[in-house]
Symmetry: D3
Subunit: 220 residues, 6 copies
């Protein structure tokens, strides 16, 4: 399942991030996957203070977004990182690593997130493409929007043929690692939010009883 | 979880069963569990034609009962059998066998069912007692009523101190063997039945989507 | 995961099916889901002999297709059924029933399949749309092609605004009900098919060892 | 499964808790569940120092009790909290939250615990009622006793019609979240404790082998 | 886990099988695995009536053996087949297929079984070798003995350097597919068989309660 | 599955450990299992500084060994401890405790490890024996070698009849507690390491996709 959040960042934040990106040192994306010859992009130098400020800004924006919280049921969120794709840059089909080091703790990547900073009109190509066998989900988000997709998929960034694509990406560990189970809980929570207040008290309690017990069963 | 159905059988059926029991040959209950020294009751001779007629009558009554179907999600039902407890008879704490032979097929007993034929006023003692650690559920059903309880529990029949206790018992294989999972589905089905028609179409579809997928996940 | 098979049916079969459809009696699709007010299509009368011939033709075509077999790992296939959407017809978002009756046996629907009979140029609208949260997979297949998609999704057929959309649909029980697990096995089988003969014997055996044991673990 | 511990607290502790409750500030129970209109009780102000002393006293009493440890297989125990039900107070049927914040750590509530402080003769009504479908477990414990019951159940406190009901409640995360699995381990541990020393060494080791491996399998 | 049964067959049966093997037509073992270049042995022609008689004899011997039944918890047993390894013959490391066709039904191979017909002194080499990573279990059974081992392992038959190795092999579907779970049940059943009659009635019931419920949980 | 690592320690380390063992205080092995009458060996006093130095040395050697890391997929490693078996000493068949305290944290023992310090020629008897039902893996490792075996097995150390057997033992929590699942991942990782660079890029990504997703599914 996929989630688009159109307004994760407001106009002021987009501008701040654009400015911070300009001041941030970038290094070759190959650094974190030296053997992946299809990876050709630039990533934020983890030590750069402007970059750190930008990471914190995006982390806060994700944490405050209720739609995202309901969808992901987050437990830990990796530090968001700038990725810059100049002309000719690309990232071939890959799967995100299952486990990542998050300041000493281990984070399991269940949901991947791309936050679009640059305007989609500002570059050609560069679509995020998530493969689902014979079909795929393909798109470019508006500036300030976010896409959440399962880390368990093969996905890629098409070659940028003109302009520059600036995004922030991060990886989230959910309370519920199994995608199908997470969708079931998300959907029941939506039903409760939209119908709960109109239900008879007893039936509403029944729904809460199921939701609480599925959470217990499936959290890992 | 437990289910009481007060009117599984109607008055005519209770009388027919009482009469059929009178004509049925009974044998020692020890026959099916020779090593169980705490089992002291009489069971219907499986070859007796009156008994077979009675079994069929109760089987039909269980199959037609909607409450029971929703609660148990039955896949196979063992042939119901008369049990008679005369004065001094009892059946000590035991767990029902996990698998039983049902005419060549194997039946897993997930839910046990006692159908009360004799009137509770007609005997002293003889309460069905289901143990749940320090607590227990203990009771005598009215004539024609049924109790459904998990086959996974230790349960017993208290000693009959006067009169005669006549019941029919059976064992049911559910689509959903795990008790907690079966309760979750039962509860969601109840919410749908009671609230579904008042919900927005989209939300009702969401609930059906969850129910169908939990069934797929858990049926075994 | 999704699978498109472009040439499930050859030209002769498409013509035969078109002709059989003309001779087949159709009834209201509402018959099988009386409460679903968003279902407005026509389905083949199950008793019609021309329809039965058509069903058998499509069943055979699915069974012989190696791509489909590898993708679905089928155990049982429901009898394919004609669906006809005339102008104004549609089928709102729904989830396929988890269990279906297949001639006395129970079939769990894990993978749904639409076989396109009419030419996509012959009708307007009528796209099959599979919802994946904020995103969806939407399309019209060429005559003779098939789409396989998870029965666990909410999906719909958009309103036909002109012409007639004729398809056959069916539901398949897989050896591996969990979608993610099925994808893992499908992918390992592809690696074996494409790389196995180039591998060292020992490594090839290692891969077969994993595939056989995942099958044992996950089949249900 | 349920566990009653009659003497969790000794006479001195009961008196100390009664006195501490008198000195503790209480606030409306609605504070922690603002939307639950059936919750009408008073809870200890978390900041009150007398209350904190009382919480610690009960926590220690639970931790030292061997019966409770064997039954619950505890990993984390929430800070026990006073609940006071004056005349007319009640807490309608509800399910305990699946996850709670315990000083920065997340605690999954698997087993709920009520410790009775006031004498059952001192109030009318106020029975703790745990629902199990058509049946329920209903009761009032003696002063100093505790009841452990699955957090996964719907349960309620009947309206207090006279006097005052003072209890402490807490929630425990078990090593083994699934109730049925926890019962299996508890039962095997009981068999080992009661029969182990009489068994042949080899058979005793076999039993320990099973217990250790079930723990590995099921702990989560 | 492994099981050796020394006396699966008695002297008369060994002689009958030796004689039946002499009258049975053998075909190349490659027939059932055409791509496996490491398989070089001779198997019984499935249509040969003497071979069928031999298969039935061994099937009966396995079915009657209590040790084997307790260890394997069998649900279905494939038709046993003669394998003959003459000088220079061998079967390289392989894993047994997960699923096999057994007269229309599908059989999952959980436990593999080799029944030794020829005397181990009658051939050189030909040891059955089951690989467990860096270690292996390697051996030749006496005439009439059987070895049961997990079908999930890589195993092989070493090259026969002199004489002839005649065995019968078969594959068994267990009620409990997971090897570790099957071992737990086997071990608890052994404890019950060896200690049950010396236990207090209540503790013995507790053990039966656990065994019955683990069977319910794990059978698939 | 088992792993032998022949050269976990180099000659200098073996000598350093031999010398440290000489300076370390040992206590009775019964101390940690007071009720186990079959345990008769000497263990390092946990407070001894020479022993602590030796523990650290072996811990480092395990952590740096790539073969061991790939096989065990370690998350936490218990502090290695000297065990000394003098003449007549032994440790009867036992299973390692499921959970251990590791400096406040809980460690689940999934894989057990014996590091051999003394030369196998220096003692008689003392073979490490891992029971697998009717079969067993039995052996003495060379000085500086290590054996990794499942903590889930019954295993023992045969009586030392002459000389002295000095080993270090430890227990490792794996990312993947289930032994069969851990073997599947280990085997796929081996295939990737040995064949990955020769594969087509797409197929190599497919293999990585499966490995990453099995890790997500199974880590606990």
């Amino acid at each position: 399942m996929f989630l688009k959040v159109d307004d994760l960042l407001n106009r002021t934040e987009i501008e701040a991030l654009t400015e911070l990106a300009r001041r941030t040192q970038f290094i070759s994306g190959r650094a974190s996957n030296p053997h992946n010859t299809t990876k050709n992009n630039a990533i934020q130098d983890p030590a750069d203070p402007s970059g750190k400020q930008a990471s914190q800004l995006v982390l806060t924006a994700i944490q405050r977004n209720e739609q995202a919280r309901n969808f992901v049921l987050p437990r830990r969120i990796a530090i968001p990182t700038f990725l810059r794709y100049g002309e000719g840059m690309t990232y071939g089909a890959h799967v995100d690593a299952a486990f990542m080091n998050l300041g000493g703790q281990i984070l399991r990547s269940d949901v991947s997130c791309t936050v679009f900073i640059s305007d989609p009109e500002g570059y050609q190509g560069g679509e995020l493409t998530v493969h689902l066998g014979s079909e795929s989900i393909r798109g470019k988000g508006g500036a300030g929007s976010a896409r959440f997709y399962p880390s368990t998929t093969l996905h890629e960034v098409a070659s940028v043929t003109a302009g520059e694509r600036l995004v922030m990406i991060t990886f989230i560990e959910s309370q519920i690692p199994d995608q199908m189970q997470r969708e079931m809980l998300y959907t029941l929570n939506e039903v409760r939010a939209l119908e709960g207040l109109r239900m008879e008290w007893h039936n509403r309690m029944s729904l809460e009883y199921v939701i609480a017990n599925l959470l217990r069963m499936w959290a890992r």
